[in-house]
């Protein structure tokens, strides 16, 4: 059974390899994003030493590592699922003796592993040469970081599954998917660390799953969070992962009852 799921990871990995243009355009995107945000933050800092508790060096590292982590956890599962729901092929998949949601998750993982090995690792090396990035020297921090971006992947994928499954309940969830993408980029901390938000916004964000996706792992990596806070951050991620399972299962159960294929 497990080997069937492993195959889904492998197949997606190979599919990604086949689409070279995607790979090259991915490299260009991440290079431009990191570069542009680096210069923007340099201008924002101006002559200031620290802003929002981040030094310039920490901020540079934060931007680089956040984008690189995004390469790993990012996927388009929401779009894939809603396409399959709309063209009806989800019905065939449901008859198979494997869990549809798990298959999707594994495909997302195949994509993530592909980008981790072929984009994130070489990208990180290039970035350290180009920009004043300071990597942590403590091996424990590296290990924790990789555990944390694993949770980032899980949580982000869960949100994608939920957004995709909405296609069962509304005829067209295009707007919802766009909204989710924008929300995650803003509120997860990729373009703006949570520490920059005003106090009330930070308090509100603590009750949402988004900061667990980027802000927490990147803060640990840059050393903004240390000691007991690191374990706290990890616990927050684990709790969000557990909590988000509930709505997905509920949606999935409701969806199976009301599946209705448009056209076909």
């Amino acid at each position: 059974m497990a080997s069937a799921y492993l195959d889904f990871i492998r197949i997606r990995f190979l599919t990604m390899l086949a689409y070279r243009v995607n790979y090259y355009s991915g490299i260009v995107i991440y290079a431009i994003n990191i570069g542009a945000y680096y210069f923007m933050w340099k201008a924002i800092y101006g002559s200031a030493e620290t802003l929002g508790g981040f030094t310039v060096a920490q901020m540079t590292t934060y931007i680089a590592v956040s984008w690189m982590a995004r390469a790993f956890y990012f996927n388009n599962l929401d779009r894939e699922i809603s396409n399959e729901i709309r063209d009806g092929s989800v019905a065939v998949q449901m008859t198979r003796p494997i869990s549809y949601l798990m298959v999707k998750m594994m495909q997302g993982l195949g994509e993530g592993v592909f980008r981790l090995l072929l984009l994130m690792v070489p990208g990180m090396i290039v970035v350290t040469f180009m920009f004043p990035v300071s990597l942590p020297t403590d091996p424990v921090r590296w290990v924790i970081f990789f555990v944390m971006i694993w949770f980032s992947f899980l949580i982000n994928t869960q949100l994608n599954l939920m957004t995709g499954l909405f296609a069962f309940f509304v005829e067209n969830n295009e707007g919802l998917m766009r909204m989710k993408r924008v929300l995650i980029d803003l509120l997860s901390g990729v373009i703006l660390p949570m520490a920059f938000f005003p106090g009330w916004a930070q308090a509100a964000l603590n009750w949402l799953p988004f900061p667990a996706i980027t802000y927490l792992p990147s803060s640990v990596f840059t050393g903004r969070l240390a000691g007991g806070d690191v374990w706290n951050a990890l616990a927050v991620q684990a709790i969000w992962f557990a909590v988000l399972i509930v709505p997905i299962l509920l949606m999935w159960r409701a969806a199976r009852r009301r599946l209705f294929v448009q056209g076909g």
Partner: protein, 265 residues
């Protein structure tokens, strides 16, 4: 001329059809409007939050950066209305819908653009205009009789820059089967022309000015109205760049269409 009238009549038909489908999915319409606005709100939030920590970006004040953003929203809204090519490669290449397009007498690009027309995006343009107006008075800029005319010319130039670039990028899908290759590229790079170009290093500035000239959809044309940052040469290059890039986009599209072989299904 006759072609033009024919296309306009097509446009009317497509809009009528659009209305009918949207009336069936009414809730989606509002979700879509809302999500478009969220996208702009996100970027404005970024600007507002950042300026809580710094008085200036380069030597641009908050109101000036917001002004540029407001300007950007106007051409961006018009562009998204008519060039909604985000799922071009999925829908027309992978699923082979291009077959249907090519058997008809109207221009292929015209049809693709009209089939995906997305009027709710225009609401973004209106809000952009309001934002621009608000920062205009906040900055105490003088108002000349020719300013609205210049704004129209600049907007047209910016829209053409965008349309040309995105048509060219969509054409890539004639050459590769990658179903998702271009959309994220489009989504990401467009972000950077709306911030003061002076903050970037030479490489990115060159990229945003001459290669992927997104700076002509933001900071250059908007600088015409900002007395402190006025750069007349770059501002007036906007319509010129618009025509050049639109021509390039069209030319690439025509070449790409010839390569289309159908999806075989």
């Amino acid at each position: 001329m006759q072609q033009m009238i024919f296309n306009l009549s097509l446009f009317r038909e497509y809009i009528a059809n659009y209305m009918k489908t949207k009336l069936t999915y009414r809730a989606d319409f509002w979700v879509e409007v809302f999500s478009d606005l969220m996208f702009s709100a996100t970027n404005l939030i970024f600007i507002f939050v950042v300026f809580q920590h710094t008085p200036a970006l380069g030597d641009w004040s908050e109101a000036e950066v917001v002004f540029v953003y407001g300007y950007f929203m106007i051409p961006y809204g018009i562009f998204s209305t008519f060039t909604n090519l985000w799922n071009f490669s999925e829908r027309y290449i992978a699923k082979g819908e291009m077959d249907r397009i090519l058997t008809r007498p109207a221009g292929s690009l015209t049809q693709v653009m009209l089939e995906n027309v997305d009027p709710p995006s225009l609401i973004g343009s209106l809000i952009g205009l309001c934002i621009m107006g608000a920062s205009w008075s906040q900055l105490g800029l003088a108002f000349h009789w020719y300013d609205p005319l210049v704004l129209i010319v600049m907007t047209l130039g910016s829209v053409l820059v965008y349309m040309g670039l995105y048509t060219a990028l969509a054409t890539i899908s004639f050459y590769t089967d990658a179903p998702t290759g271009i959309a994220p590229l489009m989504y990401n790079i467009q972000n950077y022309g709306r911030y003061p170009i002076q903050i970037y290093n030479k490489g990115i500035r060159f990229l945003l000015t001459w290669l992927l000239p997104f700076a002509f959809v933001g900071v250059y044309p908007a600088s015409f109205f900002l007395e402190r940052h006025r750069d007349l040469v770059m501002a007036w290059l906007t319509p010129v760049m618009g025509v050049i890039f639109w021509a390039i986009g069209l030319w690439i599209w025509r070449r790409g269409v010839k390569r289309y072989r159908g999806a075989g299904s």
